[in-house]
């Protein structure tokens, strides 16, 4: 996987559309054969009631190209979790229609929100 072309797009989207604070991109070091960037930032409010407090979140920009297949395998997801050591990452899915959509991805089996 290589997301070096789109991490800036996600950074800008988080800052200027979603109004996050302190949004910064980082390159992951130990991912093999790939050029993977993650974005760190703080949302304007708690994202879920199940969160104890407002915390910085990790966002993994991924590109959804309708004209070719993505390359985020679960093996790679595990490696990213291992390096970031966080309980969740947010997939920032960059579509080819100009939108970015965000999905929580938890490692392992997780419980849904109660309400």
């Amino acid at each position: 996987m290589n997301n070096s072309l789109v991490f800036e797009l996600v950074t800008s989207n988080l800052t200027h559309q979603q109004l996050w604070d302190a949004v910064k991109a980082h390159k992951l070091s130990n991912s093999v054969n790939s050029d993977i960037w993650v974005v760190n930032g703080c949302p304007p409010h708690k994202l879920s009631n199940d969160d104890v407090e407002l915390t910085n979140e990790w966002i993994l920009p991924v590109e959804l190209q309708q004209y070719d297949r993505g390359s985020l395998t679960l093996e790679l997801a595990d490696q990213i979790f291992a390096e970031l050591r966080c309980r969740r990452i947010i997939l920032g899915i960059v579509n080819d229609d100009g939108t970015v959509v965000y999905y929580f991805m938890y490692k392992g089996l997780h419980k849904p929100k109660k309400n």
Binding site: N13, L74, L109
Partner: protein, 279 residues
């Protein structure tokens, strides 16, 4: 686990690749439920034969479920129309007599019960009960002939021979559209989930934290992915995550690790996905 406490799973046409695993004994179904396997009741409930919401035996199991139950020594397979035909054709006159005796015994019990009931009713109305007068034909025609759920014909011929069991197991496993699903099932069972088929919700399984009679489901589990090779289908993540938000279920993807021969290893990695609530 003791041999004869094992649950009998009837494998309909288990000689071809696919087979349908069914359980007919209500006590077995209770046992399964207490072990965390609900299954799906599929037979007509005779007391309410015009609806599909409440059904009766047989209980149909998912193929993964049947494989797992046998693998864990809790159940065994038996199969074959030949078995029934052979048993029926070779039934001896003596065995038939036994069957008729059993029928007669049931009738006798019913007669006794009905008479008692009648007597009690008469007594409560203050009418003296005269056994001779009780209408014999009316009584006889109201006796109940039961069609039993569990076979008496084939019980004697059940083959629990382990080589045969293994042969049936492998055939059933190979009939799965996605064999990785078996390992996903197994891993979820190890986490004590109740599982049911999930196509209606857009998944392979639906996972419940306890008995579905009492608890809402927590997850829609996707068909197994190859951990190292299959990319996550992001378009499906988008729709799956959206669906999950509406129904309060997480969208779960599972990667099954394969060895070099592309055989599944018993190692499954799960990820739970939901819409982040923005974007």
């Amino acid at each position: 686990m003791n041999e004869h406490t094992k649950i009998a799973i009837s494998l309909v046409k288990g000689n071809s690749n696919s087979g349908t695993p069914l359980v007919f004994d209500i006590d077995d179904i209770k046992k399964l439920r207490n072990w965390g396997t609900a299954g799906i009741l599929t037979g007509t409930l005779p007391s309410a034969a015009q609806q599909n919401g409440f059904l009766s035996v047989p209980l149909r199991l998912m193929v993964e479920e049947a494989l797992w139950l046998v693998d864990s020594g809790m159940a065994f397979f038996f199969t074959g129309p030949e078995t029934v035909t052979a048993a029926a054709e070779t039934l001896t006159a003596r065995e038939m007599e036994h069957a008729l005796e059993r029928q007669e015994k049931s009738f006798a019990e019913q007669r006794l019960f009905k008479k008692q009931q009648h007597a009690e009713k008469m007594a409560s109305l203050g009418i003296p009960f005269d056994e001779e007068k009780a209408s014999f034909t009316l009584l006889e025609s109201s006796l109940f002939v039961e069609t039993p759920s569990v076979s008496e014909l084939v019980s004697a011929t059940i083959d629990q021979n382990s080589a045969r069991q293994e042969e049936l197991w492998i055939k059933l496993y190979n009939g799965l559209r996605n064999t990785g699903d078996y390992f996903v099932y197994k891993a979820l069972k190890q986490n004590h989930y109740f599982l049911s088929p999930g196509a209606r919700f857009g998944g392979r399984f639906i996972a419940y934290p306890g008995d579905p009679l009492r608890y809402h489901s927590h997850m829609t589990v996707q068909p197994a992915l190859d951990y190292n090779r299959d990319p996550l289908d992001l378009l499906q993540v988008v729709s799956g995550g959206r669906l999950g938000t509406g129904v309060k279920k997480l969208w779960v993807v599972a990667g099954v690790k394969m060895d070099d021969e592309k055989e599944a290893k018993e190692d499954v990695s799960f990820f739970s996905i939901e819409w982040a609530g923005f974007g």
